[in-house]
């Protein structure tokens, strides 16, 4: 495809980020700190029951607070947006609760005031009465359908890959994905050993430092929304749908984004800001506090039951996977998590007989969406722990056992798609080499024991998705790139500029990437799932190549000889007689994809590219307290050809540290549906002292043959292997196996005590 790699010298540069100066000087502006003249602030009153019918909402005390502009409920919203439900997979989320509330923290009313403190104080005076309904919080329990979170499901058909979702009743299951390859029961019957384990992950959340914020300025002929959004094109589509307008009357602008990690995908606060702006006829800002973020979007807790059959030679010949995803009260993108992660639930292994059932479930908890890995980290946690347990039980070296079963280039994956350009084995070998795996390991002395572990993973990227880009060369020869990828810190603007520079033979730092504004920038499906570098990269490459061809044409037109080095500005000067004109190249990219067959999940083209990465760790465990210290964390990934090696390394390092938090201590504590630690004081994220003493990050030498300049996505990769590598190392150190995250000191301590037949009581 892009076999013709050009030698502009831009790809492969460790160029500092283009926006670096704005970020170090404090000039970078984020939606959360933006102000628009005449703007009102909205603050919400939220549900205090996990599931209930709204009997009444008393807003009188709130209305009486001096300085309050207005108080609005779901019924008021209906006067301006008659069908006020939104969501990427199901239109299940009301802008403000209507009839029913589905979780503690669901917005039920909103107050507007010029002073946010006034709005907040007034919102606290709103009293809603509910007829409480039974609630369900656990994903496996939810699958029994005894308590129904929604009376009826209303699917959206916005995305091609979710089109098969049908409206369902009497169920909490928003999607069940099935994959069948070979005959798993026959495989088990032939197996010499069978292993079955159940793993669980906890509820955690993104906690991007810029809490969600949207400012809507509604006019009768159009609406402008400033928003902290990872996918402005989708927001525009959804807002236009809610208004019954064509998309060209809806303008979404995204200033700098204080990161997202998946938490600002699809549509979040935009619809509420819009509705309140319509009702008040003023610009309205909805900016969450960090506490409210805990009630907005989270990561799916999961239960994963995995069963493997091993033949007498140590080959995994059958694997059955059942996964229950706790999607919370609204589907958000849970169905896609369920399906796409379902593809690769059996791991990076070559297994003849595979059966996968993956269920997206509604529960009465805050909604869950995508978080840096689209479900993959939850799966890898299970299958790589499981793999280690099997190896240990069979007295096999965990590395050798993995290598024996690894899926190799050219072999069919469980989906039926042939593995190509996935350096799984190289990743695993590199981790092992860095750990000196085959050499004896110092095991610690006294009460402090040492251990090591590794894990490797495979992911299929979300498909099919489309990106469009425009490259514009101006009369002075300067170049501007219009692309909808949101640079939320992953360095996409820089990488895209490097690709344009590569094609047009320009220094990347001279290329301007215009701010994201749907009136200006063409369509992009969204900044998610490590798709941008590949998809938008191709669109940008195509746009640049078109511009390059037009420049060559112009060169000929103005009579420059072939191979002329005349500056671009001279060409425009010659053609227009002055500094004028433009050359515009456009590029659209949509990869090939064959949807999986319903019921079997089989397809010969599940993904435009495979993603693979792994981790290795060395740890020590204080057996007297359960504290685990990570001495060394090794992240190895196949990123294809790194476009910007330094940014790639930062992405690997940052992703692994984020996953380290999810592994070791992050947890939303929930008491009958109430999140009880909704603050940084009680929900801790990794800090500077949590960084392992030694961190190593490596992108193995690789080339994505169908990628732009051999590159592919990076953002999620280093989250994959961290959790199981650590659990494997803990077993290596102290002989206890942990099957539920997080691996807190207390959990480790209790396991050690139980292992020694001195279980610690509850208190």
């Amino acid at each position: 495809m892009s076999g013709t790699v050009l030698t502009g010298g831009q790809v492969g540069r460790s160029l500092p980020r283009l926006e670096a100066r704005a970020k170090v000087t404090g000039a970078a502006e984020y939606t959360h700190t933006m102000r628009v003249p005449g703007m009102l602030y909205a603050k919400m009153a939220r549900s205090t029951v996990p599931h209930g019918r709204i009997k009444s909402i008393d807003v009188s005390a709130a209305k009486a607070v001096p300085g309050v502009y207005g108080v609005y409920t779901g019924e008021d919203i209906k006067t301006v947006i008659p069908d006020p439900y939104y969501g990427p997979a199901f239109h299940d989320q009301p802008i403000l609760a209507l009839g029913k509330v589905h979780y503690i923290g669901e917005p039920v009313a909103a107050v507007l005031a010029a002073d946010p403190h006034v709005a907040e104080h007034a919102a606290a005076q709103i009293v809603a009465e509910y007829e409480e309904l039974p609630a369900v919080f656990d994903e496996v329990e939810a699958a029994e359908d005894k308590v129904l979170v929604h009376d009826e499901l209303k699917p959206a058909t916005t995305f091609a890959d979710l089109k098969h979702l049908k409206g369902r009743k009497d169920t909490n299951c928003a999607l069940d994905f099935r994959l069948r390859r070979g005959d798993v029961e026959k495989g088990f019957a032939q197996a010499a050993h069978i292993f079955e384990h159940t793993f669980k992950t906890q509820k955690v959340l993104h906690l991007a430092f810029e809490p969600h914020a949207s400012i809507a300025d509604y006019k009768d002929d159009g609406v402008t929304i400033y928003s902290s959004a990872q996918g402005p094109s989708f927001v525009r589509t959804e807002i236009a749908r809610l208004l019954g307008w064509p998309e060209n009357r809806v303008r979404i602008k995204v200033p700098f984004l204080g990161s997202g990690y998946g938490g600002k995908l699809y549509i979040k606060m935009e619809a509420l800001a819009l509705a309140l702006s319509m009702l008040s006829r003023r610009p309205v800002k909805v900016a969450l506090t960090m506490e409210e973020v805990f009630f907005t979007i989270t990561k799916h807790p999961s239960t994963f039951k995995i069963k493997s059959g091993i033949d007498k030679d140590g080959r995994v010949i059958a694997r059955k996977c059942e996964i229950w995803w706790n999607g919370g009260a609204f589907a958000d993108i849970g169905p896609r998590v369920t399906q796409k992660s379902g593809f690769t639930a059996s791991g990076p292994y070559d297994i003849e007989n595979v059966s996968i059932d993956s269920y997206a479930l509604y529960t009465n908890l805050p909604p869950a969406g995508a978080l840096r890995g689209f479900g993959i980290p939850q799966l890898v946690w299970a299958y790589e722990s499981h793999t280690d347990m099997i190896a240990r039980a069979l007295k096999r070296d965990p590395l050798d056992f993995r290598k024996q079963n690894l899926l190799r280039e050219g072999r069919p994956h469980a989906t039926g798609t042939i593995l190509k350009d996935a350096a799984i084995e190289k990743v695993l070998d590199t981790i092992a080499a860095r750990l000196d795996w085959k050499k004896p390991f110092e095991r610690g002395t006294g009460t402090v024991k040492r251990g090591r572990g590794l894990a490797v993973a495979l992911k299929a990227v979300i498909s099919p998705t489309t990106s469009v880009a425009i490259v514009n060369v101006g009369g002075d020869g300067s170049c501007t790139l219009y692309c909808g990828t949101i640079d939320m810190g992953q360095g996409s603007d820089t990488a895209m500029a490097q690709m344009v520079g590569e094609v047009l033979n320009m220094p990347a730092e001279t290329i301007r990437v215009v701010p994201r504004d749907t009136d200006v920038v063409p369509y992009d499906m969204g900044t998610l799932g490590s798709r941008s570098l590949f998809h938008m990269g191709h669109a940008v490459r195509l746009a640049a190549e078109e511009a390059k061809a037009k420049i060559a044409e112009l060169r000929r037109e103005v009579g420059e000889p072939d191979g002329s080095n005349a500056p671009l500005a001279d060409l425009f000067q010659k053609k227009y007689g002055m500094q004028a004109g433009n050359i515009v190249g456009t590029g659209t990219y949509k990869p090939d994809y064959i949807p999986p067959e319903a019921g079997t999940g089989q397809t010969t083209n599940a993904t435009p590219f495979w993603m693979t990465a792994g981790a290795g760790v060395e740890i020590e465990v204080d057996t007297e307290t359960g504290h685990v210290r990570i001495l060394r964390l090794i992240n190895v990934a196949d990123v294809g050809n790194p476009i910007n090696p330094r940014i790639v390394e930062t992405q690997l390092s940052g992703a692994s540290l984020m996953q380290l938090g999810f592994t070791m201590f992050e947890k939303m504590h929930i008491d009958n549906g109430q999140v009880t630690n909704a603050s940084f004081a009680d929900y801790k994220i990794p800090g500077i002292h949590d960084v392992p003493a030694i961190m190593e990050n490596e992108a193995v030498e690789a080339y994505q043959s169908n990628g732009p300049f051999g590159g592919k996505g990076v953002g999620e990769l280093a989250t994959f292997g961290v959790s199981p590598a650590i659990a494997n190392a803990i077993e290596d150190a102290v002989g206890v196996r942990l099957m539920e995250l997080p691996l807190t000191p207390e959990v480790v301590f209790r396991a050690i005590r139980a292992h020694n037949n001195m279980p610690l009581g509850d208190e």
Partner: protein, 152 residues
């Protein structure tokens, strides 16, 4: 959050039961309860105030006696809304009376939930408060029956 405990009092089970189902008496053993008004035989309204250091919390609560099985069991459901802060308090309190060594043992289980702002932020503080209230409750209860015992 769940609070469980036992109080042993030196009085016959039947008389302990009669006193326990007397709402004003019961309320007098819980620190911070005031303005108890009976709506009917099994429903009451009251105010409940508690403070931790200089932070004070006030709730309007309604109490429903959900189960009365003489002479062994009383169960009540409490629901309350805090004043001036978003939240909700719900609790079920069940007491079981048994006779042991000539004394009556009151075994109680209180399962309380706090939601809203109080639940997401104030939980640790109020949890600790609940423990303190439990101690007071046990002391008052024991004292009440000790007095009763002395009087009879």
């Amino acid at each position: 959050m769940k609070v469980e405990g036992e109080i042993s009092v030196d009085a016959p089970r039947a008389s302990v039961f009669e006193r326990l189902r007397d709402a004003p008496f019961f309320a007098s053993c819980v620190d911070g309860v005031s303005d108890l008004t009976a709506i009917d035989e099994t429903h009451y309204n009251a105010s409940f105030a508690t403070k931790v250091a200089f932070m004070s919390f006030k709730f309007k609560v309604s109490v429903e006696m959900t189960r009365i099985v003489p002479p062994d069991e009383i169960e009540a459901k409490v629901e309350g809304t805090p004043v001036g802060i978003v939240g909700r308090l719900t609790a079920t309190a069940s007491t079981k009376l048994t006779e042991r060594d000539g004394k009556t043992v009151i075994a109680y289980v209180i399962d309380a939930n706090l939601t809203g702002k109080l639940g997401s932020i104030g939980q640790p503080v109020l949890k600790s408060k609940a423990k303190e209230m439990e101690k007071q409750f046990a002391t008052r209860m024991a004292a009440a029956f000790a007095n009763a015992g002395a009087a009879s």
